[in-house]
Symmetry: C2
Subunit: 392 residues, 2 copies
C-alpha cells in the first residue's frame, strides 16, 4: 500500500459522503413518528422499530456534527432536529433521567438504569444546540450533563447488582466518557472545568488503568490502580483500550504534551500485538489478561467499532508522531477492515463477524450499532490524512 | 447405530459414574473454605474462585440426588454437606433472599436480584434434607420456596429494568422453574398443591408459549399467549423449549395424559427441524422466529446443555411413545454430542463450541457451567434406556 495521504483522505471522505451518510439518510429517519430506526438489515430495510436512547442520541450528535464540521446542509440539520425533538419530548422520566429504550412512538420501555444514556444526551444536545442555535437544546444538554455529574460515582444507582464494598472495582468507561463528554460540551463549560477534567482523566487512565508491566489497558481496576484476580479484574477489551488511547492523544495534543502522546502510541501498539488474531486476522473483542477463558461468549468475534477505533488511533498516531509502526499497523488493519466490514454491494459496513471474519449478523444496524462509529471514524481518519497530506 | 438399549444404558451410566462424577469429586470441592469451585479449566484446574449461587446450589442438589437415587455413598453426602453448610451460612441476605454470587470465603458479591437463586436453593436443600435427614435443611428449603412464591409475579423486584406496563411479556422460564421446583419439593408439599401447580404449568406452557401455527415454543409471550413483534417477542431458545418439553412429558406421564406426551414430542421434533444447523450440525443457541438478526451475539454457538437436554427429551420420548422419529433424531444428536462435547482425554464435557463445533472456551466449568447439566442428563438418559431395555 502506498503512503499516499491524499488518496487515503479521499477514500475515507468519499466513503463517508457518498456511501455511509446517504445510507442513514435514506433508511433510518422516522419522519412519521420522529427519531430514527436503527435496526436495519443488510439492504437498509427496517426489521425492528424500538428506539434505543444511546443510538438515538448518537445519531443526533452525528448529524449535528456533520452540519457543524463538514458543511451546514439544511437536510442534515433537519435529520438532527427530527431526533432531537422526539427525544426532548419522550426521552426522559419525570426527574429528567434518560430512559434506555422507547417504543417507536416514544413510550418508555427500559428504565434510566444507565448513566451513559445521559452522557450521549448531553453530547447530542450540545452539538445540536450549536448547530440549531436553539436555547432549549442548550438547556437539555446542561441538564443531562448535571445528571452525569450527580450520578458518576454510582452510575447504575438503585439498579446496581454489585454488593457494596466487597470488590470496589472502578471502570475505564467512566473517565473515558467524562472526558469525551467534556470535550463535546467545551463551548458550554468554563475553560477551567475543561482543563481540570481533561488533566484528571489523562492522569487516571494512564496511571491507574494502564498496567505498567504489560503496557495494556485494563477494563476494571481497584481505586488505587491495583489488579484483582477475578473475571472483571482480568478483563481486557482491546477496542476500548485503543479508543481510550486516541482520546488521550487528542487531549495530550491540545495540551502540547508530547511524552503522553508517545506513551499512548506505545499502548496502542502493545494492545495490537497482544490482541491481533494471528490465525484469521482482526482483533479479538474480549480477552483475559491471564489467558483464562473469559465469560463473554462473544470474546473471539470481530466487531466493526473495534477496528474503526483502531484506524482512528493509528492514523492519529501517525499524524502526531510519524512512528513507522503506526503506518505498518495501519495498513494491516485498513486492509482487514475494508475487505471484511465494508459492503460495497449494499452500502455501509457490517457490524459483527465471527472469528474467521465471516458475517455473523447480516445487518447494518441493531440495538448497539447505529449511525455513529462508522461515520465518526471515517470522518476522523479523513481529517488525519488531510492534515498529513498538507504536512508532507 | 444399533438400537441396543442395554449398551446405551451402560454408556450413559459409565460416563456418569466413571468419568463425570469423579471429575467433580476430584477438582471442584473446596474442603478448606466450603462450597465448590466451578471455574475449572480443561484438566480440572481452578482458574477462578468466585462462587455463583446457582451453581453452588445445583451441585448440592446433584450430589444429594446421587445419594438419594443412585446409592447412599457417604462421600457423596459429605460433598453435598460441604456445599449446604457453606450456603446456609453465607448464601442469604438479612431478609433470607439468596445472593447471586459470593467470594471464595463467602462474602456477598452480587445482590439477590434473581429469583432463580432462590429456586435452586429450594431444590438443593429439599434433596439435601431428604439425604441427610436434617430438619434445618428442610427449613431452609421451605423458606426459599416461600421466597419464590412471594417473588414470582415480579421476579427481579427493584432490579427490574423494564418499564412497567409498556410491554408486559411473560417468560417461559417462570412456569418451567415453578414446575421443576414443585417436583423437587414433592415430599415436602401437600399433594393438592403438587397437582394444582403441575396441571397449571402444563396448561400455561402448552396453551400460551407454544405457537399453534409453527409448533414452536416462544421464550416470551403476552399474558394471553399472543406474540409481540420485538426482539424479546420473536426470541426462540431451542434448548430451553426442548427442556420444557421433557418436563411436560414427565408431568403428563405422571398424570397418564398420553395426548399431551405426544404433543410434547411433536414440539421437540418441530424445534429440531427448525434449529438444527444443516451446514455444521448441532443446534443453534438462539433464533429469531422471523429470521431477523437476534441481538444475542452468541446465537450460532453450540452449547453443551442444549444438546444434553435434547438427548433427555428424545430418549424419554422414545420410551413413552416409541415414535421412530425420536430414535432417528436421538442417533444424530447423540453422535454430534459425544464426538464434539465429550473430552475423553481429560474427562467431563466441553461447554461452549463455535458454530463449526470447535472448542470456543477451553473449560469444563465457569460462571454458568457447573456440576449439573452433564451429570443430570447422563443420569436421566441412563434411566430411560434401562427402562427401555426392560420393556423390550
Amino acid at each position: 500500500m502506498e503512503r499516499d495521504f491524499h488518496a487515503l483522505a479521499q477514500q475515507y471522505k468519499s466513503a463517508l459522503l457518498e456511501d455511509v451518510i446517504p445510507f442513514w439518510e435514506n433508511h433510518s429517519v422516522d419522519w412519521e413518528q420522529g427519531g430514527y430506526f436503527t435496526c436495519l438489515d443488510r439492504a437498509g430495510n427496517v426489521y425492528d422499530t424500538d428506539k434505543f436512547i444511546w443510538l438515538q442520541n448518537r445519531q443526533v450528535w452525528m448529524f449535528s456534527t456533520f452540519y457543524n464540521q463538514i458543511e451546514p446542509r439544511r437536510d442534515w440539520l433537519a435529520i438532527a432536529a427530527n431526533g432531537a425533538n422526539f427525544l426532548a419530548k419522550h426521552g426522559r422520566d419525570g426527574e429528567g433521567n434518560w430512559y434506555f429504550a422507547l417504543t417507536r412512538d416514544g413510550q418508555p420501555l427500559v428504565q434510566p438504569y444507565n448513566i451513559f444514556s445521559d452522557c450521549f444526551a448531553a453530547m447530542a444536545f450540545s452539538k445540536f444546540a450549536l448547530a440549531s442555535g436553539e436555547d432549549w437544546a442548550k438547556e437539555v444538554a446542561l441538564q443531562a450533563y448535571g445528571n452525569v455529574l450527580r450520578r458518576k460515582d454510582n452510575p447504575k444507582g438503585k439498579y446496581t447488582k454489585g454488593y457494596p464494598g466487597t470488590r470496589p472495582l472502578k471502570s475505564l468507561a467512566v473517565p473515558m466518557i467524562l472526558a469525551n463528554l467534556t470535550l463535546e460540551m467545551d463551548w458550554l463549560l468554563p475553560q477551567e472545568t475543561l482543563d481540570t477534567v481533561l488533566a484528571e482523566t489523562v492522569q487516571e487512565v494512564m496511571a491507574d488503568f494502564l498496567d505498567p508491566v504489560r503496557g495494556l489497558m485494563f477494563e476494571n481496576v481497584m481505586p488505587d490502580g491495583s489488579h484483582l484476580d477475578c473475571f472483571d479484574g482480568r478483563l481486557l477489551n482491546p477496542g476500548h483500550g485503543i479508543e481510550a488511547m486516541w482520546f488521550v492523544m487528542d487531549i495530550a495534543n491540545r495540551r502540547g504534551d508530547t511524552a503522553t502522546i508517545h506513551k499512548a502510541v506505545d499502548v496502542v501498539l502493545n494492545i495490537l500485538n497482544f490482541a491481533w488474531d494471528s490465525d484469521y486476522g482482526g482483533l479479538y473483542y474480549f480477552m483475559d489478561a491471564e489467558g483464562h477463558p473469559p465469560h463473554q461468549l462473544e470474546w473471539d468475534q470481530k466487531l466493526w467499532w473495534v477496528h474503526l477505533e483502531t484506524l482512528v488511533a493509528l492514523s492519529m498516531g501517525d499524524r502526531l508522531t510519524q512512528r513507522p509502526e503506526c503506518w505498518e499497523w495501519f495498513q494491516k488493519v485498513h486492509d482487514y477492515s475494508w475487505s471484511h466490514f465494508a459492503d460495497p454491494e449494499y452500502g455501509e459496513w457490517f457490524g459483527y463477524l465471527n472469528r474467521r471474519g465471516e458475517v455473523l449478523l447480516n445487518l447494518k444496524g441493531g440495538k448497539w450499532k447505529g449511525c455513529f462509529h462508522v461515520p465518526r471514524a471515517l470522518y476522523l481518519c479523513w481529517q488525519q490524512f488531510e492534515a498529513l497530506s498538507l504536512q508532507s
